[in-house]
Assembly symmetry: C2
Homo-oligomer: 339 residues x 2
Amino acid sequence: MSDKPTTIKEIAKILKISVSTVSRALNDHSSIGLTTKMRVKKLAAELNYEPNQKAIQFLQGKSHIIGVILPELSESFFSTAISGIEDVAYKRNYTVLLAQSHDDADREKLLVEKMKTQRVDGLLVSVSKTTSTYEHFEVFKKLNIPVVFFDRIPPIKDIHYVASNLENGTYEAVNFLLKKGHRTIGMINGPTTLVASHERKEGYIKAMISNRLKFDPSLIVSCDLSESGTIEVMNTMLNHRRKPTAIVTFNDYVALFAMRHTRSLELEGIDFVSYANLPIINYMDYTPIASVEQFPYKQGKKAADILIDLINRPKNETGTEQAYFNVVVESELIIPNPK
Amino acid sequence: MSDKPTTIKEIAKILKISVSTVSRALNDHSSIGLTTKMRVKKLAAELNYEPNQKAIQFLQGKSHIIGVILPELSESFFSTAISGIEDVAYKRNYTVLLAQSHDDADREKLLVEKMKTQRVDGLLVSVSKTTSTYEHFEVFKKLNIPVVFFDRIPPIKDIHYVASNLENGTYEAVNFLLKKGHRTIGMINGPTTLVASHERKEGYIKAMISNRLKFDPSLIVSCDLSESGTIEVMNTMLNHRRKPTAIVTFNDYVALFAMRHTRSLELEGIDFVSYANLPIINYMDYTPIASVEQFPYKQGKKAADILIDLINRPKNETGTEQAYFNVVVESELIIPNPK
DNA sequence: TAATTTTGCGCAAACGTTTGCTCACTGGTT
DNA sequence: AACCAGTGAGCAAACGTTTGCGCAAAATTA
């Protein structure tokens, strides 16, 4: 017993009606009588009937699967984002095919291929750090399979994406420090090539301007984000003719390195503000006094929603005048309750 | 152009041969002449033909998808494990359908349902903390869909599982502390209901015995793993007539709480050993001096391998004499290089 | 009562691929 | 000349479901 799953055919045979009637009855089609519907549904329930998704997907040419390619699940940003993606997907009756590129461009390419052969209905991508060409995504455009990028956006035109804007979060952060009385605020920024670095800088400058303070470019330093790199720029900062009393760091790791360094120099009283990456920050003894939140869950959710909308949009008229979704999730300064 | 993907039919029509010949040619069937094969393959390549997986899956009743249900991807154990799963899956031409239970038994149940309707070929599960009934997995047994549990194993019989054995890792840990000269070693253990707690305790006892030391049960305390709970049992320990000079903690969080507490009491010189959960431990100022590693990547890999083996095993003779895979991955003490 | 509409259901095609059979050749052996 | 084995290829069924179309019976209208 309980060998092969029940099919619509068996139900039809037992009830001595046609398969089409059974199908329509189960789908509440209007042309089926109430009594027949009831009979069919009752038997279907008894037999634990479940439609064979593969057959349906095959018939309709839809897999109801969305592919997700992201760099690293062990980065909490992504593991949180995937929760948002997952939740949306499940709510809208899609399932998530997951793959990590591990920040390897070649692997990413391969995964994109896999996604294609699996015939996903749509693709969600956060590109790897090492990806420098983007043709492998073009294929999907040709196949009319929507692709939505999130967080790590490739520098090309005509794409859908969801990203966070760090400018206003940074603005808030610097403003917060200024309100606290700081007048000399340093910033350990990332590589200047990153959009994210640029946004941070802009936010910093805007905050200074709106407070009618003059902006000193030498207080913003670039860093490779490693521990040694951080220590190096920290030393530069500390030897600056205007020694900062507060520092905004590129991320929590940099903040950690920097704070550790100041403690090793037995310097006290520098306030740090960082960008939220690590949940573990809650368990630390020394933490930044505030943090710019990027809402990864929300970003994932939004991206998935857009993707599924795109999948289900009415067939566009032969490709002309495509609209591209470019959503920006605003970042926000989070100030923890002081213990 | 590039509208719908190429099908085998179109190739057949162009070449004026039958679909079956095309199919066989592409699959290198022996009954097709070499010249025909070449012609077919050439054209297929030109047309960017790719077999429609959905059709094949439907035909063969196989989805080549394995479902993975685990509690929390933000726990590094799981995000590492999934990498192992993923790698195996991709190597063996399966794809991974991911879902998180967020340690919610109801959600887990729902996800299991989803996996069933998606007709996954197999299921990999690490059960949620709150799961107390296990019938929802029984369905799969009936459907002959293999289920492999990993790390968090339900306390029921006749299941496949991969888990880590913490006993020997704990043994090594305690041994290590003894070699370092400690004679009074405390252990902050988890709830006694957990298998994992039991294994830790056993390892502890074995180490003591093999060093011809007598085991003092009062040095092992149970804890709910919260911060307040940890502080409480730490106080008990510190007031013990034999104050421990080293403590083995249930996990890194507990270690963190405990270490923070001792520092707040300005106690120095207690050595801590923990179990590896947090990569971030590398960034901390105060860390355990050693850690028991559970090899999540390896566990995930192993579990996925077993699952796929099960999926592809020859049809077992009407269910009799099923063998169950119970694989134990040994844990291991990792002693970081002193800085 | 006849003509028309509505209601309820069945027939059969279609989706893309695989595979068991069948069949027509070709070449070689009696 | 008759037979057989082997080779190469086609026919058609099958997988489970949806859906356009058609058709009969029942209900409504004239």
